[in-house]
Amino acid sequence: MIDLRQVTKRYGQAAVLKNITISIDEPGIYCLLGRNGAGKTTLLKSIAGYQNITSGVIMVDGKQISTSTLDTGVSYIENFARHFNLPVGKLLKIASEVNPNYDYDFASEMMERFELDGKKKFNHLSLGMKTMVSTIICLASNKRVVLLDEPVLGFDAIMRVEFYNMLAESFQKHPRIIIVSTHIIEEIAKTIQKLIIIDRGSIRFFDTLQSVETKAFSISGLQKDVEAATQGLNVIGQDAVGGLVTSYIFDNPPGQTASLEIHQLPLQDFFIQIVGHKGGTTR
């Protein structure tokens, strides 16, 4: 269980995390979405105890987390993580030795499935393969909380599909909290249970993917019809082209009428509306 209470992280005057309060208490695969610089990595590193927060409290399984926590029970892997320049097979073996609960069979199986050459040294691997090795090590660690920071960076389409399968299999084998930060939204949607959207250091959305499917809609039509239909609803964004208006809602959709076009909002569009930026500016 992860519990964050009023977590703020500042670098000098700049607040990267702003008063975040969130509780993740059920095992599941969570997707952390956010634009570049939204605070995703800072949030994950703070939960992993890799860096200290400025104020607030982070608890993982009842244990307060900071850099002074000598054994956090959290496995975190960042993209471009540097490892010993050893053959991949040996690297996975060492990881199994330093991790008491490591699932070596899972790691070996994944190494074969991803056609990783066990004899090839880590520094000789491509970026995608390096990331894959890091991800396998992290998932095989079997810690109660696993944090993957942009794990699909450098993966081709086939590797990404394999990765999502691996994630699902790993979770089925050992249900635990897995948080994956990514930019490739639609692809991971089939794998995840809950969605966390972070923007400019604040959590903007934390709910199930199912709630997005049942509550996120676009309503298009003439301005007066759209305004009448969305009155009292949670409107998260709006576009206007000529006399036509499209409102984006996160609420129960209004009844279908001939003057309105109501469509389910794809996850990516929902994210864009929640984050509420266009071309780097706030609406």
């Binding site: 590193k45 890799y50 860096q51 200290n52 850099t67 002074s68 926590t69 000598l70 054994d71 956090t72 496995s75 892997i77 993580a81 540097r82 490892h83 010993f84 690297l91 060492i94 990881a95 030795e97 330093v98 991790n99 008491p100 490591y102 890091s134 090590i137 992290c138 660690s141 810690k143």
Partner: protein, 215 residues
């Protein structure tokens, strides 16, 4: 325990450069004249180089492999103990077996200079071992701090102490007495006790530094 043992194994395995450099220097170092330095002295190089690798090379990599800070630190301390024992054994062997057959009339081994050999071979070996543990733990603490302001402050204070204490006679004697206690000490129980005490104190300080270390 298994995890700590695995960390020790990895720390020692990734310390190859230190081993190779030390072996090269020990084998290749030559000196001439009536008074020469024992090649065994150069085994101490390993103690000087190892903490650099443990701190700057191994820490982040072991963390990325999923080791805990606790296991890393325990592994470092155990590694220092093992290396100190090995260095001590090799230098003592060199002192006993190679130094006497040297063609020079006087061969200077640091074990003699420090007065440890006055207490017999085993005590001298132990004194050397605990002194080297102290050296390595001190370096571990000092190097771990370098990424922070207090590391630089410590460097400054150490340099200031040496610069101020050396030219002023009364202060120089304080500095000298300190080195008499921790290094040039022929009283084996006192010397071992002081080295152990200082190593323990520095280990606690090192733990505090590690607790603040970010990745």
């Amino acid at each position: 325990m298994t995890a700590i043992f695995a960390v020790v194994k990895r720390l020692l395995a990734s310390n190859k450069i230190s081993f190779i450099l030390t072996v090269l220097v020990v084998i290749c170092a030559t000196s001439s004249g009536d008074v020469v330095l024992s090649n065994g002295n150069y085994t101490w190089l390993l103690a000087g180089m190892t903490p650099f690798f443990f701190v700057f090379y191994d820490f982040s990599k072991l963390m990325h492999l999923g080791a805990s800070k606790k296991d890393y630190y325990s592994g470092c301390l155990a590694g220092y103990g093992i290396l100190a024992l090995c260095i001590s054994l090799v230098n003592t062997a060199v002192h006993q077996l190679i130094d006497p057959i040297y063609p020079a009339q006087t061969v200077i081994n640091l074990m003699d200079v420090c007065g440890w050999t006055e207490n017999g071979l085993i005590a001298a070996g132990l004194q050397q071992m605990f002194f080297l543990v102290l050296v390595m733990v001190s370096l571990q603490v000092l190097l771990s701090m370098q990424a922070n302001w207090y590391g630089w402050l410590t460097d400054f204070v150490l340099v200031a102490i040496i610069c101020i204490f050396t030219p002023i006679a009364p202060l120089r004697s304080v500095l000298s007495e300190f080195f008499q206690l921790v290094m040039l000490n022929s009283n084996a129980p006192l010397h071992v006790g002081i080295c152990l005490l200082l190593s323990a104190a520095l280990s606690i300080a090192g733990l505090a530094v590690l607790k603040r270390k970010t990745l």
